[in-house]
Amino acid sequence: MRWLTDHTPQLVLIPTIAVTIAYVILFSVWTLWMSVSNSTLLPDTTYAGFGEYVRLWTSRRWTVAYQNLFLFGSLYVIGSLVVGTLLAILIDQRVKFESVWRTIFLYPLAISFIVTGTVWRWIFHPQTGVELALHDLGWISARFDWITDRDFALYVVVFTGIWHASGFAMALILAGLRSVDGDLVKAAQIDGASMPRTYRRVILPTIWPIFLAVAVVLLQFAIKTYDLVVALTQGGPGVATTVPAIVVYDLMFQRGQIAQGAAAAVMILVALALVLIPYALYTGWRARQQGDHHG
Amino acid sequence: MSSLLIKDLRKSYGGVEVLKNINLEAESGEFVALVGPSGCGKSTLLSMIAGLESVTSGEIRIEDRLVNDEAPKDRDIAMVFQSYALYPTMTVRENMSFGMESRRIPKAEQAETIARVAALLQIEPLLNRKPSQLSGGQRQRVAMGRALVRDPKLILFDEPLSNLDAKLRIEMRTEIKKLHQSVGKTTVYVTHDQIEAMTLASRIAVMYKGVLQQYDTPKTIYEQPVNKFVAGFMGSPNMNFLSATIGESDGARGVVLDGGDGAVLPLPEGRAGGLRPGQKVIFGVRPEHFSAPQEQRAERRGERSVIVSAMVDLIEPTGSETILMTRIAGQTAVVSCEPDDAPAEGAVIGLAVDMNKVCLFDPATELRL
């Protein structure tokens, strides 16, 4: 009885620990194993080596998807940070109805990628959106068909992604701006710095850890991007906007190449690890440094 | 029957021993202060008495009952925390009744107890407030009230006054003392403030580096510290430690301050036993045991004082007394004197040292000789 009361916490935790450990570790190992197995349409546990990784990296669809991810990821993160910073600074100017502005800029985050993608598809599509509207206005030669253009479709995805995520960046950067010591700003003003210069030289540099944190979160979103592209372009035209997550789905559930799909999923995990592990190490290191400073 | 008995108690985390062989005993109704610098193990000791930390080896007995393996709730103790730890979502009344509810005490009895304790602590008007609506002193009172409604065998205090400002701290100190006198509960009180320990405790346990250095009445601890650490820790300003050598003059043993004029300061009879001429010692004298020679403070008690000469470097008036930073035999010494008697900076003055009050320590072992 005594033992039971003493170990209540552990006993209560056991089911969830078991489930979580199974979920995180077992599921990962499982997919990892599938990626080096003989699986095709159905899972097969026979070991087959790393051939599927080689075939994956030699398929054009995958290499294009990975390149797209790099281009999309960097433009999406930079764009969201730039727009988010701009919005945060604008709102920080003691504007009236601050919460209204904030609500407007942040609401896209509450709606799904599917809704976002569908709405913007209608607007970007030449048969329904901006181009048709320009034709109706009498500008017959107007062309706005990025979404169906192999060279430009990815930028439509970037734009829509930024539309969806910049409010997120704004909210966090605004919180950061508000946490800056007011005396620092006063000191800069007394030193004769103009407002833009105060932001550029004094305020923004002090909150750079927030930029880093936001960038890491957004990169994570970028790597996992799937729904947005499905709703917006379905990866097309051709493979112009295909991203790794789409390839995974196709390989696993459309083409019956489970092993190669698993290999692609593992590559997504690797990409995430490449972003998150250095960041985790860095924050850990910085926390220790600060710990040392504070004694 | 002792109310609290601690025998050969040890505590280690991993391989690190944070409490070494603690022995302590408190009679029923006693007020024991555990005092020492931070990291000395006093809070760990208190947590072990409370049952919040496990015992590595040794025994803790409360009213003769071995409680080593008992849960905190079964030890019949109450505790007042440094942060007060008042439950923020409960009113003062609920904070006080929470423990009684756990013990399934009838509602009527709960109400009666709360009324009695609230009257004792004068917190009746606060009973329906939340902790966030209370001032620091009020929170302190409520925390004590929560401890008292339990009618415990033992009340534990963990640095209860350190979150208060200086003025309130002195007020609450007096209240705790009055309270202890009226309820008479055995109390263990952890503090790093030696004045709190001196004013409140019937016995003080001075701890340092996990070792209980001395456990005795405030008077004994102050006048006869067992070692240099206890002597230096208790008392403010700190005791002066001057290096010296044992000398002889007219057949009587005395102390010769190193770096001085070689004069032998004679020790009172009975204090020189076991000392050999030429032996190195530390000469410890508290700032208040210097006085102006004409006062003859020691002589009026029938004791002896000797005059030393001191060079005054700096004076620090505090209002009630004036602190002199001086050099005696070239070694720095702090002297306290009446504000009206304060000399000018730079003056060379004579000071009477109350020789019955000085302590001599062995420089190697730091034990009192």
Partner: protein, 299 residues
């Protein structure tokens, strides 16, 4: 947290009146421009739910409605044909509710207890467990698709809403545990010690001390779990089909397929309808939404 300390100095309040006025004008112009950018797409789509189909086909989405009717909303809700059945989105709406509500409640409830244990009853190995739980937050869904297919298949939960509830509960556990643990860690340990001395045990401390302090984190967690699960698409698409799909998958199924005549106005109404529950939560709990954001990302 960060919202508490505001810069008490207004840089715009310096300089001449005219300069102040100019800067204010520029700021409000910029804000209005961005606000239009954020609001217009949804406004445009809303207006199109009111327009007749032939007008949309002729003029596209970007045009002022000449005649207005709300009938497309009713059609989208109750009688529009999707995938062979003509029940509108009401059925899929119900599916999404049946999925999101239980999964939110379950994952939040378990997360609360887990967070309480991992922050206040630390034991050997607690940090390792917390580490694994944290990893679960970052694990990409693609890594779990094949194992889930196997698990759901063996439990007989393929193509059921219960299967999705299971997935979202277990997936959400990592997130809720992390959030609650990081919140509870700021509750002073002395409170727990005091309660233990007062004779309270594990569950009593949870019920009387921890739960009353939990509403802020509870709201944050519920908002994020519900929004996330409602908006989720991949699992819904992979593990359900036909009449068992949640709303997000259903929308893609009918608006994404390029075959047949398009009913843009009805589709637009359905798309907006699917966004209403998370939007309401966002508008009602906006403060907590932002708070969850700041806590989740910075910590």
């Amino acid at each position: 947290m960060a919202e508490a300390a505001h810069i008490e100095f207004n840089p715009l309040a310096t300089g001449s009146r005219r300069r102040q006025l100019t800067s204010k004008t520029i700021i409000y112009l910029c804000l209005t421009g961005f606000a239009l950018m954020y609001l217009l797409p949804v406004v445009i789509i809303f207006l199109n739910t009111l327009r007749p189909l032939d007008a949309i086909v002729r003029e596209g989405f970007i045009a002022w409605p000449e005649s207005v009717t709300f009938s497309h909303w009713a059609e989208a809700w109750g009688s529009f044909c999707i995938g062979g059945t003509c029940e509108g989105v009401s059925r899929f709406y119900q599916n999404s509710l049946m999925m999101a509500v239980p999964a939110t409640i379950l994952s939040t409830a378990i997360g609360l207890v887990n967070g309480y244990i991992l922050s206040k009853w630390r034991f050997k190995g607690a940090n390792f467990i917390f580490g694994v739980v944290t990893l679960g937050v970052f694990l990409p869904a693609q890594m779990t698709l094949l194992p889930w297919a196997f698990v759901l298949g063996n439990l007989g939960l393929s193509n059921t809403i219960s299967g999705l509830v299971l997935i979202h509960t277990i997936q959400g556990l990592s997130f809720t545990t992390l959030f609650c643990r990081n919140y509870f860690i700021n509750i002073p340990d002395d409170l727990i010690k005091a309660a233990r001395i007062d004779g309270a045990g594990f569950w009593r401390i949870f019920r009387r001390i921890i739960l009353p302090l939990s509403p802020p984190i509870l709201i944050v967690t519920v908002i994020w779990q519900f929004t996330g699960i409602w908006n989720e698409f991949l699992f819904g698409t992979v593990f359900t089909s036909g009449a068992n799909q949640p709303i997000t998958s259903a929308i893609v199924a009918f608006s994404g397929s390029g075959t047949g005549e398009r009913h843009y106005n009805v589709e637009a109404a359905a798309v907006l309808m699917s966004a209403i529950p998370p939007l309401i939560i966002y508008l009602v709990g906006g403060k907590y939404f932002v708070r969850g954001l700041t806590q989740g990302a910075v910590k």
